[in-house]
């Protein structure tokens, strides 16, 4: 597959594919429970595909309730010793895991690109460095929990049941597992049904690092497995990243239990461009905001709010830039836009884009040829969008940008906040006072100024409103895995 669709011109880049030989995918995978790969008690199997080619990469296990029970029991058994380890000892394992991830980062980047469909440029330059950084960061916290601001000697919660999405499979695993382990919890993690492979490779890394048995357990499967996990009475803490609909179902499911929960759900981020913005960098930020990872990012800047006085000029620049995006083989090092993760997601994006058109918004797509096999969607933007359009309200979770305009800073804030979500926002202006004033009025968990989609393990991430609750990352991310400190005298 060598389809590249950039304007050819005289300087056409030859294919530069990253080698698949660095990764060895087994034909079939079991579950990782109590430190080893085991078979399910049932016979249910599923397949995972490469979304860029629809090639079957491997078969994996659809874990049933019995398997989940086994995993939770293993985690419970491991908890006693793991939580009793001095923080500095737990840190050693986390540092070791972080180093192994760095050593195996090329292999993991290729694997993630194959299973997810995102470009190797992103897995190599964004996902994997962030995964390792996250483990390094929380390793550093493990022996300093007394100083995290949660009182002396804060305690872990117990067994964490964690369910993660398919858009950043290994990075979301790191966001979940690193703080849980640093604080002394043990985990049962379920990766998404379309991207189970990197979690299974991570299981191997845990073995390589000599992590005690049962501290990390990986159960694969679809929503049924996830439901069995979050409903299991032996789970003390539920952490979920995914859609708002499933997040609500989980919240209902665990209502009335003593389980702690954090939810990181959808978003409809507003990227606000003022007339004094650094225009060329704003264009890059808009592109990065909505076309990074094919827009399959919960904090994507999917609503562009541009000051009316510069709208035409900015849109011209943006379209010119979009025409240079290279869509095609995700393993090619020059690919900017990869495949949509699944047929199901492609159908959802397609339907929402069609709704945008039917409701009268004007559709424009970058001129590019889509490969014949696999799941693809051309970078698309809608102009003439108002707050009343579906494409301005619903999360599309794809490479589709809705362009709205505003006249004054107050109007920008009002429109940005007029959403059921509140996960992210961006502000583009060269005026510092305006930047700070607007940021303080936005109801969004992350506000980026003159940048977008920048992540760092030291920075807390999470949402307002239907974007969920709880924070991941930074010192704040520890709170989700710690019980309040034991009061004086009871120690």
């Amino acid at each position: 597959m060598t389809t590249e669709t950039t304007p050819a011109g005289p300087f056409a880049y030859a294919p530069a594919p990253e080698s698949r030989a660095v990764v060895d995918i087994a034909p079939s995978y079991g579950l990782f429970i109590d430190g080893e790969f085991t078979e399910s008690s049932g016979q249910d199997r599923a397949k995972t595909l490469s979304p860029a080619t629809e090639e079957v990469l491997a078969e994996y296990t659809q874990a049933n309730a019995e398997d989940v029970d086994r995993a939770v029991k293993a985690a419970r058994k491991a908890f006693e010793k793991w939580s009793a380890l001095p923080g500095a000892e737990r840190a050693k394992y986390l540092f070791r895991i972080a180093r192994i991830i760095q050593e195996r980062s090329r292999e993991l980047a290729v694997l993630e690109t194959l299973d997810n469909g995102k470009p190797i440029r992103e897995t190599r330059d964004a996902d994997l460095p962030l995964v390792a950084a996250h483990f390094f960061y929380y390793a550093g916290w493990a022996d300093k929990l007394d100083h995290a601001g949660y009182g002396r000697n804060p305690r872990p919660l117990g067994v964490a049941g964690q369910v993660i999405p398919w858009n950043f499979p290994l990075l979301m695993l790191a966001w979940k597992i690193a703080p849980a382990l640093a604080t002394g919890n043990t985990v049962v993690l379920k990766p998404a049904e379309t991207t189970p492979l990197s979690a299974l490779f991570f299981a191997d890394i845990c073995r390589q690092a000599g992590l005690p048995r049962g501290v990390v357990n990986i159960v694969t499967g679809d929503g049924r497995t996830g439901e069995a996990l979050v409903s299991h009475p032996g789970v003390d803490k539920v952490a979920f990243t995914g859609s708002t609909a499933v997040g609500k179902a989980i919240a209902r499911r665990i209502a009335g239990t003593d389980k702690r929960v954090t939810l990181e759900l959808g978003g409809k981020g507003a990227n606000i461009v003022f007339d004094d913005a650094p225009v060329d960098q704003a264009v890059e930020g808009i592109v990065n905001g909505i076309f990074f990872n094919q827009g399959q990012v919960c904090c994507a800047g999917s609503r562009l709010l541009v000051q009316e006085s510069i709208q035409d000029e900015l849109l011209d620049s943006l379209k010119r830039r979009l025409a240079t995006l290279r869509l095609g083989d995700p393993l090619d090092k020059n690919t900017d836009i990869g495949a949509i993760n699944s047929a199901e997601q492609l159908a959802r994006i397609t339907a929402l884009a069609d709704t945008g058109e039917a409701e009268g918004a004007e559709r424009w797509s970058a001129p590019c040829e889509l490969p014949s096999a696999g799941y693809w969607f051309a970078p698309t933007l809608f102009t003439g969008v108002t707050q009343a359009h579906t494409v301005a309200r619903d999360e599309i979770f794809g490479p589709v940008l809705s362009v709205l305009s505003f006249r004054t800073p107050d109007e920008a804030v009002a429109k940005a906040n007029n959403s059921q979500y509140g996960l992210s926002a961006g502000i583009w202006t060269e005026k510092g006072s305006r930047m700070l004033a607007v940021a303080s009025k936005l109801r969004a968990g992350v506000v980026w100024a003159n940048t977008f989609n920048k992540f760092d393990p030291t920075s807390p991430f999470g949402g307002y409103k239907e974007s969920g609750f709880g924070r991941e990352g930074g010192r704040h991310g520890l709170e989700a895995y710690l019980a309040p400190a034991t009061p004086k005298g009871e120690r």
Partner: protein, 316 residues
């Protein structure tokens, strides 16, 4: 962007105030974002036939330069011979775009080139500091043109620019342009001394408004010369200037580009910022000397599959 009638832009140079308002009204530059974009384009992987194309294009874009107090006719003749036939073992190698020398060496260079399709570029205007009266700068320029220079590389008055006397800088460029006659004028900003990206964008527009045929980063004589970020910024400026006026201006990064890998990164910047129209030595140049040998070694590697080493290319 609509193409403005020339008069619309001529008004902005009517007075110091008008020029200042215009230059300070240009969009700001976020340094972090600019450098991130330049770095990201630097990760493009250029292989096989694309690499061969880029190497030959880069060779053809070099202004092969010697600007030393120790320059002699012999040194300049050697440089000219190399410019015409960069690789004595392989006649298929393109010639460089030009040789670039001090004004007193123009005649020697011209004679040594003996009608070959390689231009003679001369630095002028009290290069590199530019600290001289306008009369001296113009005399320097006329000298070079009279000796046969096809291109003049002038330096702007950075002192005047940093003091906010934009009209003085503008008028000096106009005067040098006139003194250059038919020679193409490259205007050097010495970006390392302008220091901020906002200044580089303003200088770019100032130079283009004053009639520069090329805008050029630097003299090669200061600590910071051409970088991917400042070149990207200047490529954005020529792209926007053409969109607004219809006039295409060239770009020349100079100093600090030493390897084929670096040169190819700059060509990627050209390709994905200004566009393919600039992928030609009429519109893009490298001010360099040691770069040529690295390009030739890479070229030999592509042709033979083996690295030859520094003894298989000529020293200047």
């Amino acid at each position: 962007m609509p193409i403005a009638p020339a008069s619309a832009l001529s008004e902005v140079t009517a007075s110091d105030q008008a020029l200042r308002r215009f230059l300070h009204g240009l969009p700001g530059v976020d340094p972090v974002g600019l450098e991130a974009r330049a770095a990201s384009l630097g990760t493009r992987s250029i292989k096989a036939e694309a690499k061969a194309y880029a190497i030959d294009l880069a060779i053809s874009m070099i202004d092969l330069t010697t600007l030393e107090g120790a320059d002699t006719p012999g040194k300049v003749r050697a440089l000219a011979a190399k410019a015409v036939r960069p690789d004595p073992t392989d006649r298929t190698s393109p010639a460089t775009a030009a040789v670039c020398v001090y004004p007193d060496m123009v005649e020697t260079a011209k004679a040594a080139l003996n009608g070959a399709d390689v231009k003679v570029a001369s630095v002028a205007t009290a290069f590199p500091a530019g600290r001289a009266s306008l009369e001296v700068k113009l005399a320097d320029t006329r000298d070079a043109v009279a000796a046969g220079a096809d291109e003049i590389d002038m330096v702007i008055d950075r002192g005047a620019f940093l003091a906010g006397r934009y009209l003085k800088v503008y008028e000096e460029i106009l005067a040098v342009k006139e003194a250059s006659g038919a020679a193409r004028l490259k205007v050097i900003f010495e970006t390392g001394e302008l220091s901020t990206y906002d200044n580089i964008r303003r200088a770019s527009w100032l130079g283009m408004l004053a009639g520069a045929d090329f805008i050029k980063t630097s003299t090669g004589k200061v600590a910071v010369n051409a970088t991917p970020a400042n070149t990207l910024l200047m490529l954005e400026a020529v792209r926007d200037f053409r969109a607004q006026t219809g006039t295409q201006i060239g770009v020349k990064p100079a100093g600090g580009i030493r390897t084929s890998k670096d040169a190819i990164k700059f060509l990627v910047l050209v390709n994905e910022t200004a566009g393919a129209d600039w992928l030609d030595n009429h519109w893009f140049r490298f001010g360099a000397s040691s770069l040529l040998n690295d390009l030739l070694m890479q070229r030999q590697k592509l042709a033979t599959g083996r690295y030859s080493g520094p003894d298989y290319v000529t020293v200047d």
